[in-house]
């Protein structure tokens, strides 16, 4: 969620949204600038393309594909904001194309669609997101406590609420794209896992069944310290996950318990607190 008074990047409220279904219906011709090219170079190409009422950016890209540029590369699957495939940057903002309604743009506004900047481009709007899959594979796997004697796991809803928020993640990698730690510093990719995987660590840390301690790893291997909590990840998340407030900051606090807080450390040694 975007804090009031701040420009929103991921939200729907950019002041112009009049909403689909309102207004005079009917289509119009929009001007689109789409980045086309591959790793060896490319540029923004301008198209004039018809737009109908109620459409989203992805519809228009598909129309381009079907009528003007048959080989325009774009990734998509569900067209309903559920799979996280159609990530791109629309007018410089990381967005899901299928959730960006055309009604949020003025009819005479040029809409610029570019691939995610943080990742190597494959072709046109498609980028190589393998960085994310590599980081995912490095996270120490879920390690549950044994089941109850009757073969069930018992957990209370209040205990699963927190990790469930993070499991809403559709892996669109918009947060990874927008995070300046890697967006502006390619060399940090080695040491930093990105917000998506910091909340994955937070999820596992807060998982009522998990018995593993990932706090040291979070700091040393996944680069939690690189995050300066500037919250761009929370701003772009299409699932409305509060990455920073509910995931990254609590994780930083948990790491502080272990690393930077002599009192808590002492407490845990004497065994008053949760053993770590």
């Amino acid at each position: 969620m975007t804090e009031p008074g701040e420009p929103s990047l991921g939200g729907t409220d950019d002041g112009r949204g009049s909403g689909a279904g309102s207004g005079g219906g009917g289509g119009y011709d929009a001007t689109f600038r789409v980045w086309r090219g591959d790793a060896s170079g490319g540029d923004l190409q301008t198209f004039t393309v018809p737009v109908n009422e109620g459409e989203v950016v992805l519809d228009v890209i598909h129309r381009l594909q079907a009528t003007q540029a048959g080989d325009l590369a774009v990734r998509w699957n569900c067209k309903a904001g559920k799979c996280g495939s159609c990530s791109a940057e629309v007018n410089g903002r990381p967005r899901l194309m299928c959730l960006t309604r055309m009604s949020t743009f003025a009819e005479d506004e040029t809409v610029t669609v570019t691939p995610l900047r943080t990742f190597p481009v494959i072709r046109d709007l498609v980028t190589d997101v393998s960085y994310n899959y590599e980081k995912a594979a490095q996270i120490p796997a879920f390690t549950p406590r044994p089941r109850d004697p009757d073969g069930n796991h018992r957990m209370q809803q209040v205990d699963v609420d927190r990790p469930q928020e993070f499991r809403k993640c559709i892996e669109c990698f918009l947060c990874q794209d927008t995070c300046h730690v890697i967006r502006d510093h390619e060399d940090n990719k080695r040491a930093f896992a990105g917000p998506r995987f910091l909340i994955r660590l937070a999820e596992l840390e807060m998982h009522p069944l998990d018995v593993r301690d990932r706090r040291d790893a979070a700091q040393d291997e996944f680069g939690l310290g690189y995050c300066n909590i500037t919250k761009c990840c929370s701003e772009v998340c299409p699932e409305g996950i509060h990455l920073t407030d509910n995931g990254i900051i609590p994780l930083k606090e948990r790491v502080a318990d272990r690393r930077y807080d002599p009192l808590t450390w002492l407490g845990s040694k004497i065994g008053r607190r949760r053993p770590s």
Partner: protein, 598 residues
């Protein structure tokens, strides 16, 4: 030709729920396993599943058990299901769900801390394990994380275009990297098909572009049979407005949680469409239906929760009779029946979806919904216990396999189907591979031939663009082989499909091989055509109405057809043929289940 080559014991095609579950099972059985999928890992269509996983765990209702689930499944499928599949499915689903928790899944809980279970159409008891309304996402993420933790190799954005076989059975598969357009071949004694469905044959569908019937078509080409292809499920509630999201699913949980269907006059029309078959267990008055949500013991279910085929047909008739909503659907109303807070908590992603896509606040106004092509009951004919298809080394699980759901699938039974038969397929594939390892080799001519076929669209010039052909096919299926079918229309459809086949053969694509969606579609279209033909031929053959197959010219169910399966196969000359086969009969002990009190 020089290809990238790999050797595995088991190659799983498709990374949805069934594919990943199969890969996990094969890996755990010791097989060298690879998963090949058209999209990125974790994007498969399974993420779209909302409602839950049907499993008779008895957490909400101790009375529930596999026998009741089995009976519900069979009745929902109008008794055309393969009894053994329905039995295995009902028996094993609870364990498959519990095991997901060992891999990190976080289902919603009951007050005792067990997995919470929700009501769904056609299920006698509340039995869908769920996570809000994003259960599919939870399932796929859990399996994905497990697959990665085990270290299974995944070939992402890679499409299989051919299965390779010799006289002994499967020897491997051939495909291309979507990214580079380069070819790749896998040598493997076992291949598990888990490619999902065929929704892209229809104009209004809840399915993604991936659903082009690849697995159905690959199996057919390899010599396996497709059973029950005439049964296509139209989900009663898809979005109808705005046009660009037409077909996107509105989960059945909206109705399970209190939503009702109304026509333009504001009537709950479903009360007029209760079939005799379900009259005993369906409420007769609105009062009784409303009481059911709180007191399920003493009241009967609202008719909105009848099986999907019934509801879809009812909506279709209302719209045809001119009582539809402004954009050609009916109203699904939860706003006036439940507090806004409740709706947001129980149906968060529906709330989100309507807000984002249609700018409709479902806590304040009714949704407009109409039928959308959702699922194909038909698929590869398999052995229930091993998921083995007719060709040695070929296995199929999930939507691409047929038989489990008969003529109509109950909501929630798909996710459990994926898990139960995904695991069985993976294990059996590993076992088969152990016997055949070292005995398979890829035939060079077959590879060269597959490569040549894949490149053909580039060679041709001045042909049509594949998008137009796909649209025409979708229109044909929508108009002529849709929810309500008649013989003349289907005959016309077959003529058109034949014409489309020629157009596909003459297609040409622009650009080069690197990430070229036009080319990818051109290679998917032949699959789509052959499945469409199977659907049309089988539908023309079955002269009765049952489940997901409704004939205007034969409106009643026919007991004789109730004992008959239709199996499509490919003749030597490549033509699709349809044969009648007797339906496997269940043993008497099982048949007794249908006498038991509900």
């Amino acid at each position: 030709m020089d290809f990238e080559r790999h050797a595995y014991d088991v190659v799983v095609v498709g990374a949805g729920g069934a594919g990943l579950r199969a890969a996990i099972a094969a890996h755990e059985a010791g097989a060298r396993t690879a998963v090949v999928c058209k999209s990125l890992l974790g994007k498969a269509h399974t993420v779209m599943a909302e409602g839950g996983i049907a499993a008779a765990m008895g957490n909400a209702w101790p009375e529930d058990g596999w026998r009741v689930h089995f009976r519900d499944t069979m009745r929902g499928g109008k008794m055309l299901n393969h009894w053994r599949m329905a039995q295995l499915h009902a028996q094993e689903a609870p364990d498959r769900v519990r095991e997901l928790e060992d891999w990190g899944a976080l289902f919603d809980r009951t007050p005792d801390g067990l997995i919470s279970q929700r009501d769904f159409g056609g299920h006698r008891f509340a039995r869908l394990a769920h996570v809000g309304d994003r259960t599919g996402l939870e399932l796929i993420r859990t399996l994905q994380q497990r697959t990665v933790a085990l270290g299974v190799d995944v070939f992402m954005e890679c499409t299989v275009t051919r299965l390779l076989t010799d006289d002994e059975g499967v020897t491997g598969a051939f495909g291309y990297w979507r990214e580079s357009g380069r070819f790749v071949a896998w040598e493997a004694p076992s291949v598990v098909l888990a490619t999902g469905g065929i929704g892209k044959a229809y104009k209004v569908t809840s399915n993604s572009w991936e659903y082009t019937g690849d697995g159905h078509s690959l199996a057919l080409q390899a010599g396996a049979g497709l059973v029950n292809m005439e049964f296509v499920q139209f989900h009663p509630t898809g979005m109808v407005w705005p046009p660009s999201v037409r077909g996107i699913l509105v989960t059945e949980s909206v109705r399970g949680d209190g939503g009702v269907l109304r026509n333009s006059a504001g009537n709950r029309f479903m009360f007029d469409y209760i079939p005799d078959y379900f009259r005993k267990e369906t409420a007769e008055t609105e009062d009784e239906a409303d009481r059911w949500y709180d007191d399920k013991k003493n009241n009967r279910r609202p008719p909105e929760l009848l099986p999907r085929d019934e509801v879809a047909r009812a909506i279709n008739s209302e719209v045809k009779a001119g009582r539809g909503s402004p954009h050609g659907g009916v109203f699904l109303d939860i706003a006036s029946r439940r507090p806004a807070e409740y709706v947001r908590r129980r149906l968060p992603s529906m709330y989100h979806q309507f807000k984002e896509l249609a700018d409709v606040d479902i806590t304040a106004e009714a949704m407009e919904v109409g039928p959308t092509c959702h699922y194909v009951m038909g698929g590869v004919e398999v052995d229930p216990d091993t998921a083995a298809a007719g060709v040695p080394g070929l296995f199929a699980a999930g939507e691409v396999a047929g038989g489990m759901h008969g003529s109509n699938r109950l909501g929630g039974n798909s996710l459990s189907d994926l898990l139960v038969f995904g695991r069985r397929a993976g294990a059996a594939a590993a076992e088969h591979a152990a016997k055949r390892s070292g005995l398979v080799a890829l035939a060079e001519e077959a590879l060269t031939d597959a490569a040549r076929a894949a490149l053909a669209p580039f060679e041709r010039e001045g042909g049509e663009n594949p998008y137009t052909v796909q649209q025409d096919l979708q229109q044909t299926m929508h108009d002529l082989v849709g929810i309500i079918r008649t013989a003349p229309e289907m005959e016309q459809a077959l003529t058109r499909i034949a014409a489309l086949r020629e157009r596909v053969a003459a297609l040409s694509v622009e650009g080069h091989r690197q990430y070229n969606p036009g080319w990818h579609l051109a290679l998917d279209l032949p699959h789509l055509l052959v499945v469409s033909e199977c659907i049309a031929r089988a539908a023309l053959e079955r002269e009765e109405s049952r489940g997901g197959h409704t004939r205007d010219d034969f409106p009643a169910a026919d007991p004789e057809w109730g004992r008959t399966n239709l199996v499509c196969s490919r003749a030597a000359d490549g033509a699709v043929t349809v044969a009648r086969r007797p339906l496997p009969q269940m043993p008497p002990e099982l048949a007794e289940v249908f006498e038991e009190a509900p």
